[in-house]
């Protein structure tokens, strides 16, 4: 009797919980200031409009591996995942994300331009719904670089003029491109050179000249911290991290926009979601990736909206009140010398170059 009662009670609870989760949506993102910007610009207005409760899961760093595991277990617990463009390509290749018909599924720009034209080249994979443009660039300690602040990316390799430690990503991306650029390779030839074993050796040889002065970072927060501690003179990181160290925390840090590596971040929808959940996610995406919403996000973080039509709508920082446009990687003044990450190239050569890079690091 008692057992039956317990059983009934638990069943009732499960049913109630099931009913509750029907109105819940799990969104996976990077956490920190970035998740906060999404919460303010997308989640809160959407919840107010529809009553759907959005649950944040800060697991984007392990998203690719976890989605693969979920897919194999046949139990997808995430509804929407924020990933870097390179990861979106991987997930699409593995069949772990659904393909998107951007024009049919997403809002058009206010002037009627279709979504795919408005997003333009930021749609790097048919599964990818772009959200922001960010860049990997270099910050430096204004009080440690001497009288003449660096203006070129090649300051990284100039130990005579700017002695001291620098911090670089422990992955080859951006490092090898900058190395070749500063070794005299023309910008448009860099990926052709990098596709050859000799070109890869050449990039590593250039990096070799500063190797004993480099602290290698693995998390985006490392470089701002190392700069703030005075551990390094200069170092690479994401532009939003530098913005918050400079503008929000008033650290004696300056930043370079020269040869910044532009990259995209955006949404993917996991493959294998039940139909009702997928429908809910698509409804959210239609709302959260329209022109106004993308522009709103820029009030909380200095990453540029991926839609062209959003750029004129970018306003001021929500707390500091400063204009955000000049801090965007896509601002014309900042974008005079830009690399756009070559996803196709990196999808092919990432493993190969990474193996060489790690072997070189271990030497």
């Amino acid at each position: 009797m008692k057992f039956t009662k317990t059983l009934l009670a638990t069943t009732a609870l499960t049913v109630a919980a099931g009913a509750a989760t029907a109105q819940d949506m799990t969104v996976v993102s990077w956490g920190g200031a970035y998740s906060k910007s999404q919460l303010k610009a997308y989640h809160e207005p959407y919840s107010a409009k529809t009553g759907i409760n959005i649950i944040n899961d800060d697991s984007s760093a392990e998203a690719v591996a976890k989605l693969r595991a979920m897919n194999e277990a046949g139990n997808i617990t995430w509804d929407l995942v924020d990933v870097e463009a390179a990861d979106a390509i991987r997930l699409c290749d593995e069949g772990l994300a659904i393909e998107i018909d951007h024009d049919a599924m997403l809002a058009a720009a206010p002037d009627g331009t279709g979504a795919s034209a408005d997003f333009g080249s930021s749609i790097v994979s048919s599964c990818f719904i772009p959200q922001i443009v960010f860049s990997t660039t270099v910050g430096y300690r204004t009080d440690m670089v001497g009288a003449e602040a660096p203006t070129s990316i090649c300051a990284l390799f100039d130990l005579d003029k700017y002695p001291g430690k620098r911090s670089l990503n422990k992955r080859p991306l951006a490092n090898v491109e900058w190395a070749l650029l500063c070794d005299g390779v023309a910008k448009e030839d860099i990926y052709d050179v990098l596709a050859t074993p000799e070109g890869q050796d050449r990039a590593l040889a250039k990096l070799d000249t500063i190797k004993d002065q480099v602290v290698w970072w693995t998390a985006g927060a490392d470089t701002p911290q190392l700069l703030a501690d005075g551990e390094v003179v200069m170092g690479s990181t994401y532009n939003g991290r530098l913005f918050s160290a400079i503008a929000e925390q008033n650290q004696p840090i300056g930043m370079l926009w020269d040869a910044q590596m532009l990259d995209f971040d955006g949404w993917i929808v996991p493959a294998g979601l039940p139909e009702d959940r997928q429908k809910m996610v698509m409804d959210y995406l239609f709302f959260a990736t329209d022109t106004q919403r993308l522009a709103d996000q820029a009030a909380y973080i200095s990453y540029g909206p991926a839609r062209e039509s959003s750029a004129p709508l970018v306003g001021n920082h929500a707390d500091l009140g400063i204009a955000m446009a000049p801090h965007m990687p896509t601002d014309p003044a900042n974008a005079t010398n830009v690399f756009v990450t070559q996803y196709e190239f990196w999808a092919d050569y990432r493993d190969d170059i990474d193996a060489k890079f790690q072997a070189w690091l271990a030497k």
Binding site: D93, E94, D201, A347, D354, Q358, L361
Partner: protein, 423 residues
């Protein structure tokens, strides 16, 4: 009396031979015991052995090629890669037929990334060709040889087909070869080019540094355990808290604390500069290298050494030492000949614990290890979460497991596992 019992089996009250009834009751006992442990057994099987087994199985599994390209694999068997000639039209037709199905099922990019582990460029070749081939009709649009080569010139490359042929088996030793810096090529098994050889080096470094860390833990932990075991209970408990407190603190917090201590502008360097022991422009490099990893990991793993040592030392009666001394032994002889041998089981248990934990450590080397202080697990993590090359990750994991088992076996032979005591 003894004679009869030797020839005639002893019989119990019910007339059944005693041996039989004893065996039966023992069996019943065993079944009952088995039933009692069966929930745990089932739990271990389901949550431990099965998942780990299925993960490790990926290190040899390779059915993706023959599943996605079944007809091509069969046709390719008749082709000799060494001839230097492209396969004939039959192979191309079979390939297009397979590929159209694969694109429909969206398997082709997955196969592309699998083959990209063996040869860079396969991933984009499959992705790009997928878009073009999707519109072809395998029945009517042939012949395909020139058409496919026109779609992407890499299909006119003998190497491309040789790679598909080499890796078409259902099972592969390719991942294990990769894990020891070798590779499977159309020309047989070869070493990786020298500038890509890293994994053997990492394995050796992992074992070497784990041994150093274990050694450091013994040196630092032994006196602490000795003091803990020989102090009166009240003060021993106080000291015990000092051992346990870090044990309860988050691993990340402790590792980050070491970062603050050891870095260039960190506490240790600042103090040394202030004392005038090192010059301000020649601060010590004690982080982002092997030294940093050894220091941080020794600290983090120390409780795992102290606790088993302590529990063993507690059981050694102090009267033995007094007896030795009263018989004329010096302090050192009494310690070395009487006390130390009895504490060896504690050292053994602590060493096994620390060594096995150290060999699989990941987060601490990642944070304080720089480039020459990272372990093989950091590479496994990269392949699990970034490159998605789970086959290679599984092979590396299997080798690591084998190394631990071999060392465990060696330990059993040399010291004897019965001599290990956890308390």
């Amino acid at each position: 009396m003894t004679d009869t019992s030797a020839h005639q089996p002893m019989i119990d009250a019910t007339g059944v031979p005693l041996k039989k009834s004893l065996a039966r009751s023992l069996r019943r006992e065993k079944i009952r015991a088995l039933l009692l442990v069966s929930p745990l057994l089932l739990f271990v099987l389901l949550t431990f052995i099965f998942p780990i087994g299925s993960m490790l199985f990926r290190s040899v599994e390779n059915d993706i090629v023959s599943n996605v390209l079944p007809r091509t694999v069969v046709e390719l068997q008749n082709w000799d890669a060494k001839s230097g000639e492209l396969p004939d039209e039959a192979v191309f037709a079979a390939f297009v037929a397979d590929f159209v199905v694969a694109v429909e099922e969206k398997n082709h990019t997955r196969l592309g990334s699998r083959l990209n582990y063996e040869s860079s460029g396969m991933s984009s070749l499959f992705r790009k060709s997928g878009r073009k081939v999707a519109e072809w009709n395998p029945e009517t649009d042939g012949p395909f040889k020139d058409k496919l080569i026109a779609a992407d010139k890499n299909w006119g490359n003998v190497e491309t087909w040789a790679i598909i042929q080499t890796h078409s088996g259902k099972f592969t030793n390719g991942y294990f070869l990769n894990a020891v810096d070798m590779q499977r090529t159309p020309n047989g098994i070869e070493m990786q080019p020298e500038n890509k050889q890293i994994l053997i080096k990492l394995f050796l470094r992992t074992v070497k540094m784990s041994l150093i860390i274990t050694g450091m833990c013994i040196l630092l932990g032994y006196p602490v355990a000795w003091i803990l075991a020989n102090l009166p209970n009240r003060s021993a408990n106080m000291l015990m808290i000092l051992v346990l407190l870090p044990f309860w603190t988050s691993l990340l917090v402790r590792t980050s604390a070491w970062k603050v201590m050891l870095q260039n502008q960190g506490v240790i360097n600042d103090v040394l500069v202030w004392l005038g022991m090192v010059a301000d422009d020649a601060r010590l490099e004690i982080i982002n290298n092997q030294f940093g990893t050894i220091v941080a990991m020794t600290h983090i793993l120390l409780p795992f050494m102290i606790l088993p040592m302590y529990s063993v030392m507690q059981t050694i009666p102090p009267s033995y030492l007094r007896a030795a001394k009263s018989l004329g032994a010096t302090n050192w002889t009494a310690f070395w000949r009487v006390y130390f041998p009895q504490s060896v089981p504690g050292i053994g248990a602590g060493s096994i614990l620390v060594f096995i934990l150290a060999i699989g450590y990941y987060i601490t080397p990642e944070i304080v290890g720089g480039t020459d202080g990272v372990f093989i697990s950091n590479r496994i993590a990269y392949h699990i979460s970034s490159s998605l090359n789970w086959g290679l990750a599984a092979a590396l994991g299997a080798i690591l497991l084998a190394v631990v088992l071999v060392l465990y076996w060696a330990y059993d032979k040399i010291v004897g596992i019965d001599n290990v005591k956890l308390g």
